[in-house]
Structure formats: structure tokens, C-alpha cells
Amino acid sequence: MNEQIRTFLIEDLHWQGERSELTDDLPLIENHVIDSMGLLRLVSWLESTFGVTIADEEVVPANFGTIASIDALLSAKLQAA
């Protein structure tokens, strides 16, 4: 899933850096990988691609701070499903 998320961040949210810099632990907000509109697009893409529902109160830095944290959120949801 991490690779899919990474591809989305680069190809759809247009992050300017190199793929190799976009590690699982890179802080996404501080490095401007995700901005406010990008976040909304990411949430709806995650919902449609992985068939999960993400509530507004889950859209917080703890869940969207890094690719690893997005992956953890997604894994927990897929396991519970």
C-alpha cells in the first residue's frame, strides 16, 4: 500500500521532490507534500481505492503525518472490515 500511496502523492498531488526522498517516515505536512486541498483528495482517493470510510475526526496529523501513519490507519481499517 505504501508504494500506491507514494505514487498518488507524486502523480496526483504533484509533490516536487524525488521519489527516493519520499520515505515512509518523511513528515508530509512540514515538507509540503500534502496541502489542504491535497489532504481532501487523498482522503477520498483512499476511500475509493481501498473501500474504507475515514471520518472527519480521523483526519488528524497523527494519522496523516507520514506515509507510515497513513498505512497504519488503513491497515487497521482493513483488518477491522
Binding site: H14, L39, V59, P61
Partner: protein, 512 residues
Amino acid sequence: MKSQTIDGLLTLAAQSAPGATAVVDGERTLTYAELDEQSGRLAGVLRERGVQPGDRVGLWLEKSLEAVVGVYATLKAGATYVPLDDQAPVARVGYIVRDAGIHCLISSPGHGGHWAQLGGSLRTVVVAGEAPGAQDGIEALAWSELEAATATAPARVQDPDALAYVLYTSGSTGEPKGVMLSHRNGLAFVDWAAREVGLHPGDRLSSHAPLHFDLSTFDLFGAAWAAAPVHLVPAQASVFPRELAAWIRAQAITVWYSVPSILTQLVLRGDLAAAPLSSLRTVIFAGEVFPVKYLRRLVELVPQARFYNFYGPTETNVCTWYEVPVGADIPEPLPIGRPIEGVRAIVRDGDGRTVTPGEPGELLIEGPTVMHGYWGDPERTERTLAVSGDRRTYRTGDLVREGPDGNFDFIGRRDAQIKTRGYRVELGEIEAALDALEQIVECAVVAVPDETITNRLKAYVVSSRPVSAAELAGACRARLPRYMIPEEFEFREALPKSSTGKIDRRALQAGG
């Protein structure tokens, strides 16, 4: 007017309230005395490095204490600041650096690897942090060297018509264009706005818009006008609506100014019903149309505040305003209101005749807020700006209608300029980026209306050989800021044409 120059507002604030907080950037703050002193010292350093009155100084760094010091230092040196989008591709930043003839840049260490790529005649970079080693003949000065510098701001002739800042905005021919604004232009708006909303030293202003967006002039200079603090919105808060709401509460912000789409996000996802924003007394929005259904909910959620719609292209600064009525129905669409003090609004039809109220026409703006022209482009200036002595009249390209109460309604554009998230975008600039690819036969970018961000961008493309949407997006990424990259690419065999052979955007927009 309190002052004839923008930096004069800082001097006055430093005299009247030296110990008052001027800027809040996370945990770091500057008082007005400190901001005055640091910007004076940097102004002296800039002059020692050869910056002359009238020169342009680039600001390529995140909004921060250092960026604010850089703004005032540039003005104190008698120079003109050119804010560069911190997130824009290097190619675009380089274009602006060369176009504006920037010799001296104030930048962040993170951009260090790109200074030498900007080209032009860049000689000196003042770094907001540690300076990396020398770069291809470009001198890099660490911020800490300022503290050791004995330089002070040079005495200068106060010329209110000198250029204070040049703001680059999207250009229809494929490159951004620089809007030239003087101290008098900026102050005509700031002084009016500060009095109208009654800014005072007890206020706490927010600063959400980036410096290259003209909304930022109210935040910074309005704060100095009132000797009140301006709080820079941190990156995290600007991304997560709940974080933003929590930040507004924690900083006890009293005056907020941003594009409507941010306020819409606060309404939809900020959880305001559970945790109200009780400190806000004034909420101002500008840059795009605020959908009334979300504005109505915002007014209900922040009942103690007054709400203002400010209108004006970068070329005229804010030129009309409308206060949202409380306890009454909000008119739909929301009017852009009536001219601010000193500004005259004229509505003309396609033949140049002034129309009567109620009839649609193009809005022309005349008065002290109107720009001095486009940097280095007298031809373009002449097409939209009429100058007669001190009187400057700008053709906005916006179609409006004057209502029976004297308030203007915005109807639309007479060209291919659109708004998305408050950013102004020329569709032609995106098309030029796509056309630069050799496999593109023709393309058209259209704006697809969206209720939360005004418009989404969609590109229709005809190519001579197969090309993927990812490749097209990649080509855009190299030249355009993110908000200008189409979200969707659709491949066609041909594009619909009008009878004159032009691409028929309306047909595309209608899905044809």
C-alpha cells in the same frame, strides 16, 4: 494617513509600542522594537551589498519571522520586495528572478541547492539560517551575521509613489506577470481597511495567505498600523481544519482574513459547533466567491463576529467591499459591494459606454489603490491601464452589475481567467505548459465549477502519439505551481471548434 510609507507604519509602532508583540511564528516572537531594529540592520546590510533604491529584492522562503524582517528591511532600504512562492517549481521562480532583475535574495537554507539555477544576475543571498558554502559566485550570508553587523537603515527620501512590492500572478501568454504596487497603493487600502474594521492594539491578527498573495498586506501592515500582533498560521494548522480551529482558539485570534475555501473547510470539518471560535470579532474573506450556503453556516457558528467580503484583483488591491448583514437574509449571490474610500467604480459595455445601474458591463476601477502597471511590460500595461496625470484607471475584465442599493454583483469574466481556491489562474498559462510537449497537437484547459474550491481544472488533450496523464502532469509540475495542475486529463481525437476555428471551451465545459 498615519504614514506616507509602509515601513513608516513600523517605525511608528516601534515608537508607540516598542515592547508590544509584532509577529508570532510558533514559539518565536518579535516585538515591534526588535522587528524595527532587525529590519533596520538588514536594510543596512542590503545597502552595503549594493541594493539601491528602486531595486527589487526577492523573498524566497516560508513565511516566518525572517520573511517579515525581510519585507520591512527591503522597504527601509528604499527597495521593492518581490515575494516568490515558496512551493513553486524552480523554473518559475527563476523566470521571476530574471524578469524582475533580482540581484539580492532573502531565502531559506532548504532552497540553497537551487540558487545557482535561478540564473540572471543573482549576486547575494541572505539566508534565514545557516549559510551553505559559496555557490557559483553567489555570496551567501548567514542570518547570524546580521547580529554582528553594525549597519543601520539608511536615511531615505520618503517617496510614497516608489514601488513597495511587485506581485507576480498567472499570465495568459504562459509566463507570470508582475503587478507593480507603490507605498501609496498599499496604504490606500490598508489605512482604509484598518479604520473600517477598527483595528486596535488589543487585536490579534492572523496571517494565512502567503506573501505573494495580496491578502498578506492587510495582515502584516494592518497589524503595524494598529501596533497589534500578527500570528503566522503554521503549516500543520493550514492543512487540517480541526488543527486550524484549535490554533485560532489557542492564539485567541480576533481578526481573520483568508480566501473563502479555507472558511468553508472550517465550517465542514472544523468541528466548530462543539468548540466555538469565541475570540473572533472580525472575519474577512476575499479572492473568490463565497457560496452563501456555507457563509450562512459560518455566520451561525461564529455569531459574535462581523463578516466582510473584500473584492479586487491584485492590480487594484481591494477596491470594493460588502459587510454581510446580520440577522437578515444574506443576498445570493453575495455582492462584492461598493467602492472603498477614494475609489471610483465605472461599468462599461462592450462599446465603451457607461451603462446604467442594473445593466451588466465590465468593471473599471480608478483611484489610489490602482497599480502602476506590469513590470517590464508597457504593452500589456497599456491594454488594461489608462493613465492621465495622477489618475489611473484599470479595466478589471470582471463583469458586474450595480444593484438598486448601490452594491455591485460579480457576474463573471470576459476572458479565460478563473479562480481556484482563491488563486487566480490564466487557463492559457496551463495550456502553454502542455503545448510545450512536442507530442501535444492541441489542448484546452477548462474550469469545472466546484462548490468548495470554486473551480477544478480539467485538460482536454489531442496527442500525436500515446502519452499518459502522469507524463502530462509531470510536464506541468516542472513549470507550474501545484494549484495550476489539472486534476484530470481527457484524451480526444479532436477538440470542438467554433465557427471561427477557435477551440470551443464552452462546448468542452458542457461536456461536448
